[in-house]
Symmetry: C2
Subunit: 403 residues, 2 copies
């Protein structure tokens, strides 16, 4: 594969946050009706003005800056004392001790952690099980490192009794040479939380077939009432090679700091650090200080944030379902993934028209896998009223362009 082809394959124009760059679609030829007025809403990511960063973030950063050189130049894997303190809290959260010294690396966002984890485990020809739909970068990363994507279907329909990845497909993939599996739980974009049984089964299968597991738990703190989260790393049987990825970018609205963390098998963490030395040296030094606020939020702060997201989730679900847009209830996180009915325009054109005519930005479903091209993803971590109004405009646009 030439570099030209490789980078064509990595096109980021439809990726969340990139909608402002040029589109090549001739919207004038497709447009029906006039604008639908309302506040600009960008559902491609959470609105950190509506849900601001955790209260202590600014002070923690300022103290990091004031600490000077020792905070500016940390080890590539991140500040040792910060890692040590964070390991304690992540150990409590995930149900098993975390080794801050040898088994953890601080990265520039969870994206950075994913890149390093896949870079440390995937090379030319490596077969990687990738769930579909799942976070858009997973497939692209495997291809970037010249690995081979082995798709695993995810069932996330509201009423299915088989919600979760197709485990027989997964076992077959593991039997036939898959060496690495990467997946997110809660799933991005659907909000599905893998059940305890499913998590145990994946852990056991991976251990049996010596598969490396990379588990993206970015949204695991934003868990709705009544839901249970299963931590794979605290299963009785786990594979030898296991990396867990988390970060404070979402629930805690700290994305502007680009902080993530990966923890797991020391030999893999060492590889990830070697790669980090080439990629960006380290997560920005002063920013790392903000990790000291993580899992140390004021009492009730997380509970309150979850409660606010619950109201938005339920109200948007109401708006979509009232007009027949099939949408699963997310068990965690802040994504909705409604399926569009058959439209008179292609889904990517609809997404561009939605932005053009109704000032609503969403992310195309096919970013998350080829089987969900008829869905769109909305990050509903937004101002409640503005989001509801935008959802109504979205529904009106769907009706306008229905086939």
């Amino acid at each position: 594969m030439t570099l030209e082809q490789k980078f064509k394959d990595l096109a980021a124009e439809n990726a969340p946050g990139q909608e402002g760059r040029k589109t090549e679609i001739d919207l004038a030829a497709l447009r029906r009706g006039g604008p639908i007025l309302g506040d600009v809403v960008d559902f491609s990511h959470g609105d950190v003005d509506a849900f601001p960063p955790t209260p202590a973030a600014f002070d923690a950063w300022s103290q990091g800056f004031a600490a000077g050189g020792q905070q500016a130049y940390t080890e590539y894997r991140g500040s040792a004392p910060i890692r040590e303190r964070l390991a304690q809290r992540l150990g409590s959260f995930t149900g098993k001790a975390v080794d801050g010294e040898d088994g953890m690396i601080v990265t520039p966002g969870t994206q950075g952690a994913l890149f390093l984890a896949l870079g440390a485990t995937v090379t030319t020809g490596t077969k990687v099980a990738v769930v579909e739909p799942d976070y858009f970068a997973n497939r692209k990363l495997v291809r970037f490192f010249n690995g081979e994507v082995v798709p695993i279907q995810l069932t996330y329909d509201e009423n299915s009794t088989q919600r979760g990845p197709d485990l027989s497909q997964l076992e077959e993939a593991f039997r036939s040479g898959v060496e690495v599996m990467v997946f997110s739980t809660p799933n991005n974009p659907t909000g599905l939380v893998y059940s305890g049984d499913v998590i145990e089964r994946i852990a056991t299968l991976a251990a049996t077939h010596n598969v490396t597991l990379i588990v993206d738990q970015l949204y695991s703190r934003l868990l709705y009432r009544g839901e249970r989260y299963a931590h794979l790393r605290s299963c009785d049987v786990v594979p030898d090679n296991l990396i867990i990825i988390m970060g404070p970018s979402k629930t805690e609205s700290l994305s502007g700091f680009r902080l993530g963390v990966a923890f797991g098998t020391p030999a893999l963490i060492t590889r990830m650090e070697r790669l980090q030395a080439l990629v960006s040296l380290r997560a920005a030094g002063y920013n790392q200080a903000v990790l000291d606020t993580w899992f140390c939020e004021p009492d009730g702060w997380i509970t309150d944030r979850i409660a606010q997201h619950t109201v938005i989730r339920d109200d948007l679900l109401g708006i979509f379902r009232a007009r027949g847009l099939v949408t699963a209830t997310p068990q965690a996180g802040s994504y909705l993934f409604p399926r569009l009915p058959k439209l008179a325009v292609a889904p990517n054109a609809f997404v561009s028209l939605l932005r053009d005519q109704a000032d609503v930005t969403v992310t195309l479903g096919d970013e998350f896998g080829p089987t969900s091209a008829d869905s769109i993803r909305l990050n509903f971590s937004q101002d409640h009223d503005t989001a509801c109004d935008a959802a109504k405009r979205l529904v009106a646009m769907v009706e306008r362009y229905q086939a």
Copy 2:
């Protein structure tokens, strides 16, 4: 090559800043004499406590944070208005207009820019001309992307009339299939500034042979009195594919923000952005706001900083040369690269002993190329008196371990 071998090759234990991690050398068996007391000095990087960040950095960051969502979530290539403003100033500095919209990307440090630039141009089998000695990551990056390093010898001896890369070797390399060349000027680790004639010759040769040039100009602002800096991008003839890399981490002491910038051929910048979408999404949003202070320092601030570095440079050169350590005078930047005499222990053992017995950290020469294993690199952006005292301890250690 297996991943195991590949990552062994990328060993970062001797890289600057990683000296705190375990060493496997049995120092007890090699040690001569007792400790040489003095303040701990880490010459592996500049001391941002001795030379603090530019004065407006904190306020700029705070304003970025206060700006909220728009600053947290920029395009992957960085905030459009910040790029636009910076392009103006970089155009003035480099002598030719810079396209902030399509021809520039903000990266997590210049390391991030180098990673993206090489990732965008090097794939399996790509031949890359790499100067030796030069920045340690250049060779590692080429190997990481499965390219082939074609070494080009750099002459940096104080008294040579041929200072610079071997141009006949370079032309031969370009003729025989090299597609990319990466180099730093001012050179890291030697402080050599490529002359105007050399820069023009490289630009012309690259244009003739259709070679992509990646020029790391990280230290180009810290230019000593009487020296001239030649900007390759403002040559009359330049290759179609050209990327310039700069950043405020060094002269301006803003390394703790992890900010860099690459500017040049739009098609390559687009590739770099696609890769950045996978690597870390973007440089930390709030930190990007600090770029507005760059090239906007108070009057005389840079001049004063250069003057302070000149004194330290000259005093350290005096200490080293008085004891016969051959050291070229850096024309720019803050690195000294003295050659060690023949020692009774291997250079890597000496570096460990120096840290162990004299509390002085330096970087091994072989990080910068196989031909400079008998040299050590010191970043002399340090407190003057502390640095001079540490240099004297270094010289005493050299005498103690001389063969």
